[in-house]
């Protein structure tokens, strides 16, 4: 397969996944903001959204004060913000268009339809009328795109590069989410005895869980009240939690093995080591050395892995 084609496929899925995760995060924050809470807490939530994508400075330069409306506008509709939903879905569709001949008709039409409908929804004011429903729509289109890919594509390199994009992006996004949300709690990690704070904690942690569709999963797996260390464990280490770092890395390694001719490829070795740390790691160890430090390092390594994939497969040096 052409390296350029692989590159487009990989980025098409990365952008689709990024749009979905942005919608998830915004949706949960939007729902939380409807709960009775102090203005400070609400603002902290919106600030968190910007921090996750490292967009706080560029937001402030354009919009000034952090308001719900400003952040939603910036993260959904602003075409000058490369991480906004509209920018991600546009990039996904442009990448798809560049390789439409490699995609099945169904996959291409799904991408194209998403883009056309997005234009209509934003123009008709559907997003402002009901942001919640709009975010559900973005998630649904991403589910559809993944499903139609697995359901119709030949199981060859093209599919593997697409899946690689999806799961590398997901590992990155989940790690950012966990990092920011845990960082936002400036108190002792294990909570407090104060009743009011306990109530706040419940909403804080359950919001994180719901943003990755893990609220019911948490109950099912732990059959216990929500405890932060278990939330961290679920989202980082559980191999059966579909949006966890461990599960994402499993898919990354599996798809890398499928596209790699060389069993001792450096890229594969790097991915394998990263996965092993998750496979054999324990949450108490991670917490003891510091969650933030762990996640920062994880994000660095995911980033390096992305560059290695780029160099080895997608944009090989001339001749």
């Amino acid at each position: 397969m052409l390296s350029r084609t692989a590159d487009h496929l990989y980025w098409m899925n990365r952008y689709t996944e990024r749009a979905e995760n942005t919608a998830r995060m915004l949706n949960v924050n939007y729902e939380t903001s409807l709960l009775p809470q102090s203005a400070d807490v609400a603002q902290l939530g919106w600030q968190g959204v910007l921090s996750i994508s490292e967009l706080l400075p560029s937001y402030q330069a354009l919009y000034g004060d952090i308001t719900a409306q400003g952040v939603l506008e910036f993260m959904v509709k602003d075409e000058d913000n490369p991480s906004s939903i509209v920018s991600c879905l546009k990039a996904a569709r442009e990448n798809a268009r560049a390789v439409r001949g490699t995609l099945t008709t169904e996959v291409w039409e799904t991408q194209n339809q998403t883009w056309l409908e997005l234009g209509r929804m934003l123009k008709s004011g559907a997003f402002e009328r009901d942001p919640g429903q709009f975010f559900e729509w973005v998630k649904f289109r991403s589910h559809l795109s993944r499903g139609v890919t697995v359901g119709t594509m030949l199981m060859d390199e093209a599919l593997h590069f697409m899946r690689l994009g999806t799961f590398l992006e997901r590992a990155d996004n989940t790690a950012r989410l966990v990092d920011v949300k845990f960082h936002a709690v400036e108190r002792d990690f294990y909570g407090t005895v104060n009743g009011k704070d306990q109530e706040y904690d419940f909403y804080h942690w359950s919001a994180i869980l719901r943003s990755v569709s893990a609220f019911e999963i948490y109950r099912k797996v732990y059959r216990d009240v929500i405890r932060p260390e278990r939330v961290a464990e679920l989202l980082i280490l559980r191999p059966d939690m579909p949006r966890s770092l461990h599960a994402s890395l499993n898919e990354v390694v599996a798809n890398l093995q499928l596209v790699s001719d060389d069993a001792c490829s450096d890229t594969l070795r790097h991915a394998g080591r990263l996965r092993a740390d998750l496979q054999f790691g324990r949450i108490d160890e991670i917490l003891a050395t510091g969650l933030h430090a762990f996640l920062t390092q994880f994000l660095d390594r995911v980033n390096t892995l992305g560059s290695r994939i780029g160099r080895e497969f997608l944009l090989p040096a001339v001749n």
Partner: protein, 481 residues
């Protein structure tokens, strides 16, 4: 002036008898309500948009803000040609394209036709489309134009009968075949019942014939030649067609940056290292193919490509330098080529053409500008032309000055009364002028799918069918009556 309609014996349409090959269709059409036809028009547009059958417009934004992508208007009423007419046209096309390929081989080798004085040598050798780089280069099967788009119109001849004329040969990178295929798919989707009522010759095997043609052009002895489609990229106006054909043939769609030349062989960069390329179906003009030989700033081609080509290590389809045979200044000589190379009488007629480089012709043209169509020799896409009867006095005067300044740049033809075909327009069904572009493939044999792309000038009275100038398309039926 006499007018020909494809569907009606006479115009205006009201009260006219319907021509035989259209009778079943006309009866069916008369039973359709205006609402149901309108609904199908809208359905077609939604489907074209979703499938992304669009052409790019530079620097424009459509009303959805969806960027610079436009639909080519698609008309619901098919253009029908009876099978016996098509068979004759097909023979004429095979003959014409065979002669054009013989001509191209000749001008880049022994130049017998110039020595024989059939075509003035300077007409060919001083033509901007003549590529000295191709002199003496042997191409596989001595074929240059593998894919030829021949534009045909129907108009009254001297006896007042409808006759097919070749208006123009397109031997460089003719486009539009994807619309031929998509228009048929759309018609079958919207009106399945019509296809059970008519015996319409299928066209869907075109990509198969194209792949066969391209593989037959491979220079390598390998049993499995690697074929690629070379596109300028997704911002090119015909990008949809490039992607479509690559997908339908199951070959890679490459851009210049995906290719490189090493030791005079062409390779593409893949995820598993370099892979040899044997046949390039290029949709990039000659000028951009190889920055080492042609335009040095081009990033659309591949440096060293011509070296590999001349070494016989890769086939380029169509060959470099075919423009010298489809140039408007060469067009008037095609009937003579057919006689010279094949010893046959031309089956398809040329439109009578005055070459303004000839003093007598120029005199006649200047005296009759109001009746003639004047075309720039190197123009394309309906630009740079004067349609006398539709032009203002000022426009005619401007052309007169241009003609006097540089007569060799122009040819002139009578204003043909192009045939019309009933077409859906805002005011209902009305006759609009059409042409036809069959796609002729030259590989082991010269072959084509029945019919071609019918283009229609949607503006009332307009003779210009180009999509860049408000033209649309119709499905084309070759019909066993």
């Amino acid at each position: 002036m006499q007018k020909f309609d494809e569907m009606y014996e006479t115009l205006p349409m009201e009260g006219s008898p319907v021509r035989e090959h259209y009778r079943t269709y006309a009866k069916w059409l008369s039973r359709q309500s205006a609402e149901s036809m309108q609904a199908r028009r809208e359905e077609a547009e939604v489907i074209f948009r979703r499938v992304g059958i669009t052409f790019a417009v530079y620097g424009a934004k459509d009303e959805d803000g969806a960027g610079a992508e436009r639909l080519i208007p698609f008309d619901l009423i098919p253009r029908v040609i009876p099978a016996h007419e098509w068979r004759r046209m097909e023979q004429g096309l095979v003959q014409r394209v065979t002669a054009l390929n013989r001509f191209l081989h000749d001008v880049y080798h022994d130049q017998e036709i110039l020595k024989a004085g059939v075509i003035p040598a300077e007409q060919v050798l001083k033509n901007a489309q003549f590529r000295p780089e191709m002199m003496g280069v042997d191409v596989p099967n001595q074929l240059y134009s593998h894919i030829s788009g021949i534009d045909i119109v129907r108009a009254p001849n001297a006896r007042g009968e409808g006759e097919y004329y070749v208006l123009e040969d397109n031997l460089r990178v003719p486009s539009g075949v994807s619309y031929m295929l998509e228009d048929r798919k759309m018609m079958m989707r919207l009106f399945p019942e019509l296809f059970s009522m008519h015996r319409v010759a299928p066209v869907a095997h075109y990509p198969d014939l194209l792949l066969e043609t391209l593989r037959a052009s491979s220079p390598a002895t390998t049993a499995e030649p690697t074929v690629v489609v070379l596109t300028p990229g997704m911002h090119n106006s015909a990008y949809f067609e490039h992607a479509f054909l690559a997908q339908q043939m199951g070959v890679e769609l490459v851009e210049g940056q995906d290719l490189f030349v090493k030791d005079d062989f062409v390779y593409m960069r893949t995820t598993r290292g370099p892979k040899r390329v044997d046949v390039i179906y290029r949709r990039v003009d000659d000028d951009f193919l190889d920055p080492q030989v042609f335009r040095p700033t081009s990033t659309l081609g591949c440096a060293g490509l011509m070296r590999a080509y001349r070494a016989g290590h890769v086939a380029i389809c169509n060959a470099v330098g075919t423009g010298v045979a489809d140039d408007k200044s060469i067009y008037p000589y095609v009937p003579k080529m057919i006689e010279f190379y094949l010893g046959e009488k031309p089956i398809l007629s040329n439109v009578p053409t005055w070459m303004c480089r000839e003093p007598d012709d120029l005199k006649y043209v200047l005296a009759n500008l109001k009746e003639l169509v004047v075309k720039e020799v190197h123009g394309a896409g309906g630009y740079g032309m004067l349609v006398g009867p539709a032009a203002t006095a000022a426009e005619i005067e401007a052309f007169r000055q241009a003609l006097l300044a540089d007569p060799a740049r122009y040819i002139a033809q009578p204003t043909l009364s192009l045939s019309s075909c009933p077409t859906f327009v805002d005011s209902g069904i009305a006759p609009r002028h059409i042409d036809l572009r069959p796609f002729v493939l030259s590989g082991k044999d010269v072959q084509m799918v029945p019919g071609g792309l019918t283009r229609v000038a949607l503006k009332e009275g307009s003779l210009v069918v180009n999509s860049s100038q408000g033209g649309g398309t119709k499905d084309t039926w070759i019909l066993e009556v």
